[in-house]
């Protein structure tokens, strides 16, 4: 039984990328009319839609916080999004690690809804990036972007941005989310085995990936705002 070669001797991966290359990213904001803020992100074949509603009145009175806003995240995976159909339970809770100035909106609620349309590895990081863009689009003040990226390790070589095939092999997957301006780590998550010696290189590769993603997302936001400004000036 032949094993799929995830990393060829020349250093190419299954989809032709180099180990430190990100997948192609397409990001758009203001894609949904009903939501206060929305964003659509494609990282390779992973497609995620994010919608933000808020700040608005808290739905359950018992949960009101007198000095801050509540953030509610709902994560929904479409049944057709993976290669085998999975009817996921609607309320999969993922710690999203978003940094908001919630003290600006006491006694209110901010809802973040994520819809995964197509799943090809790196769902958590795509969701975090999409949620960040949607929050910016909604005009909710934030300390900084939260940019996330995954990295793993194939044959002792750290690789950036794993796709589904690489994730399902025995490569560990480390997800890192940082605040790019300060470089501080917001979220670090891994659910597989990784040798502690490799941790340093894998983590720094993931952080580099985050910086690259930040550049791309920031360019999209500035571009959209420029368009908005131009159309208002006319």
């Amino acid at each position: 039984m032949s094993r799929l070669e995830l990393l060829t001797p020349e250093g190419l991966r299954v989809d032709g990328r180099r180990p430190n290359e990100l997948r192609k990213i397409i990001a758009k904001t203001s894609v949904l009319a009903q939501a206060d803020g929305s964003a659509y992100i494609e990282q390779g074949n992973t497609k995620v839609l994010a919608a933000v509603y808020g700040p608005q009145e808290v739905r359950h009175r018992m949960q009101i916080l007198h000095d801050r806003a509540i953030i509610n995240v709902e994560f929904n995976v479409a049944p057709f999004s993976t290669s085998e159909r999975k009817k996921r339970s609607k309320n999969d809770k993922y710690d999203n690690g978003i940094k908001l100035q919630t003290s600006q909106f006491p006694r209110s609620q901010i809802d973040i809804y994520l819809q995964v349309l197509q799943h090809d590895g790196g769902t958590l990081q795509a969701c975090i990036n999409a949620a960040t863009m949607a929050l910016i689009d909604a005009g909710i003040p934030m300390i900084d972007y939260v940019c996330a990226s995954t990295a793993g390790c194939i044959d002792k070589q750290p690789v950036l941005d794993l796709n589904y095939l690489e994730e399902s092999s025995d490569s560990p997957e480390l997800t890192v989310a940082i605040l790019p301006r300060t470089g501080k780590v917001n979220l670090m998550s891994m659910e597989s085995r990784l040798h502690v010696d490799m941790l340093e290189s894998v983590a720094s590769l993931a952080t580099e990936g985050c910086e690259q993603i930040h550049t791309i997302l920031d360019a999209v936001v500035r571009d959209t705002t420029q368009h908005l400004k131009d159309s208002l000036m006319q």
């Binding site: 009903q34 939501a35 074949n45 509603y53 479409a78 057709f80 999004s81 349309l117 090809d120």
Partner: protein, 282 residues
Amino acid sequence: MNADPVAPSFSFEIFERIKPDEYFRRFIEENVRPDGRSLHAFRPTSIRQGAISTANGSAMVRIGGTTVICGIKAEVAEPRIDRPKDGYLVPNVELAPICSANFRPGPPSEQAQINAETINHVVETCQILDLSELCIEEGKAVWTLYADIVCINYDGNILDASLLALICALKDLSLPKATVLPSSIVQADSSEKTRPLQLRRLPVSSTFCVFSNPKVTLSDPNDSEESLSKKIVSIILDTEGTILYVHKSGGSVCDPEMMKDCFTKARARASMLKELIERVIV
């Protein structure tokens, strides 16, 4: 009853919030709707096939602001004993909170269930698909098509959009060639595809919203119009003009002329959509 003269700049938005009925009525009196359409105009419709590559067949449909994506996944199942050659088509409609602030997370809402059931009913009783095309081996294995219709932006008239998305996704579907091995394992070869499914008929839905005061019927209601009147008439025709399904919600009366008028408009809409589908679907 006249409203007092108010300062011009932001008055109409506040008026819309406080008195939506009156706001709406003033537009209808001028024979136009708040979004600028004429009373019987449907919103611009667009179809895009193959939006989701992980699904066996998919389509994204936009009617005005309402956007739905239908993804079809095929799985193998055992056929029913009394129908050994027939596969299954299972439609499901998801109205998640992402599409509108009116929907809450949790089990499918009544509206989603009603829509799913209507679509299911049309598919079954009108036999739009010959289920024996889904047969892998008679009596042993058949394809089950799970059609999941996810709404990503809700602006009224979910039924029309869902049905159209389902039809286009079915036309986009390509199943892998499958054989049943002697060990009863089904082997599917995804590099070889069977020919696309033949649909016997293409059902097309037209929805109308009935108001009693003012006395008017609007085609293709958007979200604000739907919230003003719960009285909906849905007519599903196939592209040849045969009536497949009619539903007028109870609790209000309307003239027979108005119903006839709806049928005429539904026919026009069906032929327009027939052209659109033929243009878009390769």
